[in-house]
């Protein structure tokens, strides 16, 4: 049967048509060999656009479709489905990007038009060689893996567990709750963070559909969408979860009578013992023993008063790493963020000057379960009378992070309110711009202004010590264009948010893509904000980009819904780009076997040929490239298709 090709050129409003002369391109495409009809339309992806294609397939007997529009990543599925509705095999469609690869990246209109012609020509040449591709479906495991048990991971876990899905929730810290567990109050409602978080934490613990692995890392993920094989490494906490009753008598009975070591959870302003819990409502309420500071681990000669005091003998110094294997159908990455290390910007004197704190330290100080019991104190124990809050530390700064961290302005306002409220100190906020763009945020900003907080639009140059342990802030008042000074007792650095230091390792294990800063990349910022580029893997929370708690929770619920949509559907389509081997051409040289990373090809000795297990093939096409006899052919990327496309972009 001869090829009858329809070419559909999208205006995309003015996105394409503003640069590319679509009518000229249509005219050109209509004269290409085998093209029966070429049309343009304002929005090809819209219902009428798709209907146009479906109608033409029937009316003109089309058996090949070329759509010149955005990208296959964005709308490949849309047009394959349209072709299917028209009765065509969906893989007889070729998408050509004349937006991302042309109109959006080309300055000159004529050049953009010429480029569109050659890209469409390549698409038409290529589509001539397309063959129908049949895929199968296979069952999906209904369990879900969630990596990270901060507010994002917890929220997603509860949504899925309440729907009856089994969730494996993996947290690298000893306790769940993430950064939110450190906060005292949340803006703009000033709810107590614990009051909204701890019930969710205990719901996680009590939900039979959630298996919680704390102090654990995801080590390896094998398999593919719908059928992932996950290896979890459980680090030893030296207190057995199956025996511990959470009485915390080990902490009480530790040979260290007083907490002596810097508490990571308290961000350096509090102390802990070698055996500790993050805070009294921690989940799981099973202490962790830190071998770096525990005498038993350091010397082997401790009197082990912790063990003697333990009523269930849950302390076990011989605990080892343990590997757990779980099978899941979908994965949600909710790995969170870290705060900017303020000592990297030396002008603030953080780490050198006493009484220069970060916002997260302030959270711990304000928290009634924190190291100061909620008291705002200078290092000498006195109460500050004048406090400065400096915004944009590490954010909106080309030397560190160019982006706005989105939450800091509101945190600064919240702290200003709480400091004034608790100790009546004079508070000044040094800001770049106040960004208060959420529900109730602008109103909160206004309320804080009316409370008498001082606002200075200023760029801080340095902070230097002055008499009586006070601090002098030297800054440029950017409204007056003048250098000014301000003396205070305490400085709070409003530090920005950053990806974790090991984001690269996390990304690799989870097989996700990141921005150059290390934030997890979504498939599309608007159309697929919680879907990653890798099938079956979703993202939620500040691991994607700084966001506040309402946005994090919304995204976590969305990620849970996406994961549920996958596991509830119960089946996924098999990889379409798999290879086939032509028995008659195969010489049995085994080159393909040596390049296949997935052991999908085996050698049949009897027939002296290679055979493929398409269930294992992931469609990279490496074997197609090395097969010397042309026996291997990758669906949708055959030699003929690629040769035709290359020729098409180059010449008529």
């Amino acid at each position: 049967m001869e090829n009858r090709i329809g070419v559909y050129i999208c205006h995309c409003g003015t996105n394409i048509a503003g640069k590319v002369d679509v009518e000229k391109v249509r005219e050109y495409a209509s004269h290409l060999k085998n093209v029966v009809i070429a049309r343009t339309y304002m929005f090809m992806c819209s219902e009428p656009g798709q209907e146009m294609i479906i109608k033409d397939i029937k009316e003109y007997g089309l058996n090949r479709i070329v759509v010149a529009a955005c990208t296959e990543t964005l709308h490949g599925h849309t047009f394959r489905e349209a072709a299917k509705k028209g009765g065509l095999n969906p893989y007889l469609v070729q998408m050509v990007s004349i937006r991302e690869f042309d109109s959006w990246v080309t300055e000159n209109k004529e050049e953009a038009t010429e480029k569109a012609k050659s890209l469409i020509r390549a698409g038409v040449y290529r589509v001539n060689y397309h063959r129908p591709v049949e895929t199968t479906t296979y069952p999906v495991n209904s369990n879900v893996l969630i990596v990270g048990a901060g507010i994002a991971g917890i929220t997603a876990a509860l949504v899925l567990a309440d729907a009856g899905k089994h969730v494996y929730l993996v947290e690298r810290q000893g306790f769940i709750g993430g950064n939110m567990a450190k906060f005292d109050k949340t803006f703009p409602t000033l709810d107590c963070a614990s009051c909204i978080l701890t019930p969710k934490m205990s719901a996680v613990k009590n939900n039979p559909n959630i298996t919680l692995y704390t102090y654990s890392d995801v080590e390896k993920i094998d398999g593919f969408v719908g059928n992932f094989d996950v290896t979890i490494n459980r680090r030893p906490r030296y207190v057995r979860e199956d025996l511990c009753i959470g009485c915390l008598s080990c902490i009480e009975n530790c040979v260290y009578k007083e907490p002596k070591f810097i508490s990571e959870f308290d961000e350096g302003i509090g102390k802990r013992k070698p055996v500790y819990v993050s805070f009294p409502q921690a989940i799981p309420l099973v202490p962790v023993i830190d071998p770096e500071t525990c005498i038993q681990f350091r010397t082997g000669k401790c009197v082990q008063t912790c063990l003697k005091g333990c009523p269930t003998k849950a302390i076990d110094f011989s605990m080892k790493e343990e590997k757990v294997n779980v099978k899941v159908g979908a994965i949600i990455a909710a790995t969170g963020f870290k705060v900017f290390d303020a000592s990297r910007d030396s002008k603030y004197g953080y780490g050198k000057l006493p009484n220069v704190f970060t916002t997260i330290q302030m959270e711990r100080m304000l928290n009634s379960a924190g190291p100061t019991g909620g008291e705002i104190r200078l290092q000498d124990g006195s109460v500050p009378k004048e406090v400065a809050i400096i915004n944009c530390v590490g954010s909106r700064n080309e030397n560190f992070n160019a982006y706005c961290s989105r939450v800091c302005c509101m945190i600064g306002l919240k702290h200003a309110h709480m400091i004034k409220d608790r100790i009546g100190a004079d508070v000044t906020i040094f800001y770049t711009d106040i960004r208060a763009n959420g529900k109730g945020y602008e109103e909160f900003y206004r309320k804080i202004m009316l409370e008498g907080v001082n606002f200075v639009r200023g760029e801080v140059a340095s902070i230097i010590p002055s008499e009586n342990n006070r601090l002098t802030i030297i800054f440029e008042d950017t409204l007056l264009s003048r250098v000014r000074k301000k003396e205070v007792d305490m400085v709070i650095l409003n530090v920005g948010l950053e990806p974790h230091d090991d984001w690269e390792d996390v990304r690799k294990v989870l097989n996700l893509t990141c921005t150059k800063e290390g934030w997890l990349m979504e498939k599309h910022p608007k159309l697929a904000p919680v879907t990653s580029l890798s099938d079956g893997r979703f993202i939620a929370g500040a691991a994607q980009f700084p966001k506040d708690i309402p946005d994090t929770v919304a995204q976590a619920e969305a990620a849970a819904a996406e994961a549920m949509s996958l596991v509830d559907r119960g089946v996924v389509e098999s990889e379409p780009n798999v290879i086939s081997i032509d028995e008659n051409k195969c010489s049995g040289c085994k080159m393909c076997i040596s390049v296949c990373p997935f052991n999908a090809i085996t050698y049949n000795e009897e027939k002296n040929i290679a055979e493929v297990n398409i269930g294992l093939c992931k469609g990279c096409g490496a074997c197609n490239a090395v097969c010397p006899s042309g026996a291997i052919s990758q669906n949708n990327y055959t030699d003929d298709e690629l040769f035709a496309e290359i020729m098409g972009v180059l010449r008529e």
Binding site: T106, T513, M521, C620, Q634
Partner: protein
């Protein structure tokens, strides 16, 4: 040399990293030379040296191949290495056959490196412009 010479360049990009970078360059509205036309494969491991020779034969003055950063960004474990081995050999072959190996450029561009993509495309287009049109018997109708 013809002052109006506009090089024809084929860019073979893997889907997961460099095609995504090209899409990001688009959504970020970064402009670059229209001379470069993108052809995508799922993986650079799929790239057959014949594709490059075929491109030169059909009028390309330069070819760029770009995939995921080694060692372990490749979506298919090590397709980038598989391509790289071929690239090294192909460069030598091109030189022996009288085609300046500078006409074949090899890059690793990740999904977030749209700025690198723009830089590479711009640079390479200028390099090929300076080299002039490919004149070689591989061209159909050539000498």
């Amino acid at each position: 040399m013809n002052d109006n010479f506009e090089p024809k360049i084929v860019a073979i990009f893997c889907y997961w990293c460099t095609t995504q970078a090209a899409e990001l360059a688009g959504t970020s509205r970064m402009t670059y030379a229209p001379n470069v036309k993108i052809v995508k494969t799922m993986c650079t491991g799929r790239v057959d040296p014949q594709f490059i020779l075929w491109a030169f034969r059909n009028g390309a003055d330069g070819v760029i191949v770009s995939g995921c950063h080694p060692p372990s960004d490749c979506h298919y474990e090590d397709g980038n290495f598989k391509w790289f081995r071929k690239y090294v050999l192909l460069s030598k072959t091109l030189e022996q056959a009288g085609i300046d190996p500078k006409r074949l450029r090899q890059e690793w561009i990740s999904a977030s490196e749209a700025d690198k993509l723009k830089k590479v495309i711009t640079e390479f287009t200028e390099e090929i412009r300076a080299l002039g049109p490919l004149k070689h018997p591989i061209r159909e109708g050539g000498d």
